[in-house]
Symmetry: C2
Subunit: 380 residues, 2 copies
């Protein structure tokens, strides 16, 4: 194992808890804070790998264990030499553990101490994930950062369920770590395992979970169970409480968050890594994020607006195509509409975290953030 | 009108009737023989304009009058300054007249001497196209090459219907030309009007139609009503008969053709221009055209084939992505699958006509063509 996973904290903002850092992985460097485009089934929907590099300027993308396990399946991924070789994305990859997707199946899954039995959404076939199995699968997928197998409780969630679920997540984490540490990666490079803080929106549970997760002393730590329907203020409060406990010398990853404003607010609380389907999913429905606010491109007001999608846009496509043309494409259900809007939104998210980083190192993050958050939430 | 439409014949093949030439238009140069990707609603499905330039190396694309008329509509297109400004494709464009799409609506349209009344496939609204209206609409769209409003009879078609339909097409052509010649283009550049030979598969009708069409002495001529279900031999026979009558000093456009082998055979008969939805439509279903034959990427044999889609592939994407990955994407209904396969197929069609041109000017077209046609139709 030549390649060691490292995190260097480079700057701390004076006016907030925001940080700038660098993660090194076997597949390259990630400058934090960072947004990670979601590539569910080994592809960021509608975007070429080359475009992810040159237009979006993604530094790391996600893969979903549940989806990749079902299709193309582990035999294919292992024969390929892992996901990096399978999809030709040679930069860092993070995989979730499959837990979140499995729980989303609700009617189709059963949770026991041992693990989760579930049925495929594709063909109804029966499968079983345990903490050990989730590690084995993520070894085969070969992501640079892999996630512990946790339970993500719904929101709202009663205290008793939240506590039992958190305790199960902690017991599963022990099993994940034990199993993970017994083996090396399959492809000659190191993988880092991140544990996940749970505990719903209960302060004492979140505190206990953050302390437990920190005590495992892994290469990075994640915050799960947020952005599941709770009010933004509750998300921020929980996020801050947890960030204050998680060690400062390790990256903090807030799972599944969020809007541009959510991301800036949580950077201010000490989060380093984000992922979310919003930029791509909303793109396909014509919702565009810009530095001046949100555009619903389906709106009739854009039908004869021949100005660029975003004059000062974050990528070539934002400046090349017009609003009227993109509206026509989305309106007509044309593939190119989803492609352009996805490129624009992802590029914008990457631009935004890049700007955040620049302002953290420049020393004016807090005031910049407060101004941006107001602009970001306007409707254009 | 500064920009005149011209065609220069550069080479004639010794062993066949194949020709190499150059068309000059207000939006640039087209080297023939050429294949024109179909951009139905102002977009070649799944392919960025920049990719059409740099990967596919398209020199001219098609737009469909019927689709563009319904969406985005003429007011938007005119305000944009024509389709080139609307979709940001600044190279040559050809539009069909809408006739073919309107007839495909079958139950929803009614043909009279005056024109065709039809209902929109989108909202059922009622519309009327006449020869004059088709010219006005194509003036607004602003394509470099526009097509006469014709009737395309079905196959098979009885002699009487084919004859009456052809005569209607000829009367409509007169009206198209008279109306077209009374006006200049709206955007300061010349548009060329191509008439269309009809006559089903009846030799005497095709001969009469080719002579009539030639007598109009327009800038180029098209052959319609083929590739509508007739056997390939019948298509070739009709195509040859018509090409022999159409003037040699003007480009000949065979509408809606076809497979790679069809294209090479018809180049050998003297055709200069082709368009077809096959490369993009079949791409979306996982059928790939290569110099060594046809790949059905959905086939299980490709599931763990990690070689490039096409080692000596015509575009970067063909060489960058693997067969196993593309199979996974198409299988999973991922947008990127359609994108990659469309890029590959279109690039291949453009590569093929480029090679044909190279062999025409090189003097060995006929023998090269005979070898290629055999390879192209193999199933890999």
């Amino acid at each position: 194992m030549k390649h060691l996973f490292t995190f260097q904290l480079q700057h701390r903002d004076g006016g907030s808890k925001a940080r700038a850092g660098v993660i090194e992985t076997a597949h390259g460097r990630i400058e934090t804070p960072i947004f990670m485009p979601v590539g569910t089934a080994g592809t960021v929907k509608g975007v070429h790998q080359k475009e992810l590099e040159t237009e979006v300027k993604a530094q790391i993308i996600l893969g979903n264990t549940y989806h990749l396990y079902l299709r193309p399946g582990l035999d294919i991924l292992q024969k390929a030499g892992g996901l990096h070789y399978f999809n030709s994305w040679r930069h860092p990859i993070l995989t979730d553990s499959g837990g979140y997707q499995v729980y989303s199946l609700s009617e189709r899954r059963k949770i026991t101490e041992e693990g989760v039995t579930f049925r495929s959404h594709i063909d109804g076939s029966k499968h079983f994930f345990s903490p050990e199995r989730a590690m084995d699968i993520q070894r085969i997928i070969g992501a640079d950062i892999i996630m512990a197998f946790d339970e993500c409780p719904p929101y709202p969630c009663d205290y008793r369920y939240a506590k039992e679920s958190m305790e199960l997540t902690h017991r599963w984490l022990k099993r994940c770590c034990d199993h993970f540490d017994r083996q090396e990666g399959l492809y000659g490079y190191e993988q880092a395992l991140f544990p996940i803080v749970q505990g719903s929106t209960y302060e004492d549970l979140r505190r206990a979970s953050a302390e437990t997760i920190a005590s495992f002393d892994r290469a990075g730590n994640a915050i799960g169970g947020l952005s599941v329907g709770e009010p933004a203020e509750e998300m921020y409060h929980t996020c801050e409480l947890v960030c204050d406990i998680l060690p400062a010398d390790k990256p903090r990853y807030l799972m599944g968050v969020g809007t541009p404003a959510n991301i800036l607010e949580c950077i201010a609380l000490g989060v380093d890594m984000f992922d979310c389907v919003l930029p791509t999913r909303n793109a396909r429905h014509g919702m565009l994020y810009t530095a001046n606010g949100i555009i619903n491109i389906k709106n009739a007001k854009w039908k004869d607006d021949f100005s660029p999608i975003d004059e000062e846009g974050p990528c070539m496509s934002s400046r090349f195509y017009t609003k009227a043309y993109l509206r026509h494409l989305i309106h007509s259900g044309e593939l190119l509409g989803a492609q352009i809007a996805s490129l624009h939104n992802l590029s914008f998210f990457l631009w935004l975290v890049g700007e955040a980083r620049r302002h953290i190192t420049g020393g004016d993050f807090a005031s910049w953030k407060n101004g941006m958050v107001k602009r970001l939430e306007q409707r254009l």
